[in-house]
């Protein structure tokens, strides 16, 4: 089954600048895809389309065969678990456990069920001991784990992560990569971290100025063979 089917979408800002230009992407269940590109290339914009935060000005999107529209928004947001770039934007509750319960409670679970699910998720990411801690008292790495737990607690089909390792020290980074390795969801990861792409994703997409200019095996993309002949990115960039 195609879990993510992006069909020729374009997105233009209100002032006319084009952010995405005829982007098509198909992802199968269980695949791990890295999305790389310069800042401003459109990575975040693309990710924001997946759960309807942005609506394409052209083209269509299907998630797990559901077409993305107002009626299916609720279901699609249950299917997609999005982890944002800045964990401070994501952890808005007073403590970790309350934050992780946010998703499950919104999906209709009772308090008891939500707490159970939340604790399981926190345990899965290894921070159950921090459940009563306030976000401002968590380290960056811990915050990201709690953010991931918050998303895992809703049992999504697809995990979408926006630059998960940015700003992390090498140790926290390694811990996070190891954690993500253990998860078996379909994954889309926007990242600058080529080592993460190499470790976690068998497939990589390169975005440049809103267009996909490369889509293939990570090993190939990162060793630059694929892009030697492409005029869009200077040969020595990657």
């Amino acid at each position: 089954m195609l879990t993510v089917d992006i069909d020729n979408i374009s997105y233009t800002y209100a002032d006319g600048t084009s952010a995405l230009d005829a982007v098509s992407l198909q992802v199968n269940a269980g695949e791990s895809v890295a999305i790389i590109g310069a800042n401003g290339a459109g990575k975040s914009t693309l990710l924001h389309h997946l759960n309807g935060l942005l609506t394409p000005t052209a083209g269509r999107i299907h998630i797990c065969t559901h077409p993305l529209n107002n009626k299916t928004l609720a279901e699609i947001r249950r299917l997609i678990g999005m982890v944002f770039q800045n964990p401070d934007d994501q952890l808005f509750m007073a403590n970790a456990i309350d934050d992780v319960c946010f998703g499950p409670l919104n999906l209709g679970l009772t308090s008891q069920q939500a707490l159970k699910v939340a604790r399981r998720a926190l345990d899965q990411v290894g921070v159950l001991n921090l459940q009563d801690r306030a976000p401002c008292r968590l380290s960056d790495g811990e915050k990201r784990r709690v953010a991931i737990a918050g998303v895992l607690a809703t049992s999504p089909e697809i995990l979408v992560l926006d630059e998960p390792t940015s700003g992390l020290d090498p140790w926290a980074r390694r811990q996070l990569i190891d954690l993500l390795k253990k998860l078996d969801h379909t994954r889309l990861i926007a990242t600058h971290d080529f080592d993460l792409a190499h470790d976690l994703c068998e497939r990589t997409i390169v975005l440049c100025e809103g267009k996909i200019i490369a889509d293939g095996l990570t090993a190939n993309i990162l060793t630059n063979d694929f892009l030697d002949s492409s005029p869009a990115i200077p040969a020595n960039t990657l």
Binding site: R77, G81, F84, F102, L107, C136, R137
Partner: protein, 269 residues
Amino acid sequence: MVTLDSALWQLNQSNRLAEGTTWVHRLDPRTKLFTTLVFILFVASHGPLQISALIPFIVYPAFLLFNAELPLDYVIKRLFFAAPFVLFIAVFNPLIETQTVIIAGYELRQGWLSMSSILIRFVLTASAALILLASTGIPQLCTALNQFGVPQLFTRQLLLLHRYLLVLLTEGLSVYRATQLRRYGKRLTLATGANLLAQLLLRTTTRANRIHNAMLSRSFSGEIPTPETNAKLTKQDWSFIVGWCSLFFLMRHINLAIYLGQLLEGLWS
């Protein structure tokens, strides 16, 4: 006037202290909130010239402070910062109330008495509020407020404000320091200051947008649900409330200080 960096430090300290695990911390927040409010009401109900009657009331904040293992300077520092306005108004009392009284053989302006009364009230009420916070924490206090009927929308607002206060203060301090380094001792002008604030404000609204996106991504529909707490008040809670409120009532009717003083005088003679 609290500055950004001292506010940050104080906020961090308060948050840290609220994580304590003493029996005071573990009391139901409703207990502490209710008793503290009653305490403040009783203190405020004293006449403007009462001083000695107020002094025994210090036992409540002192008791809580020591049992919750809070440092004394936690309260004292904040009292210092908050005192100016009260002092400013209170200092007029001795200037206006010039009728004199005789105390211990000395002739004093009545205004000094009423001023002292104001200062004691200030210490009592302010420290009670500070200690309540440090032994409870905002999340628990909000739960208690909800249970007392405060609209959920407001407590949700309090929680969000508390959550992002450190973030915004840090950002504010960062921007402020950045201008400081290029001002070379000159004061912050209106143009620079307004630009600084405008930048911070814009960053704030874009942050709000991102947070909203994060909320929507987890199926936010307008209400922030919180796990229900059906905790009942325990015997310890009830004895705390009844015990302290009875004591406040007693101390309000009987000036314990005078009794003690007369006792001492009796023993002396």
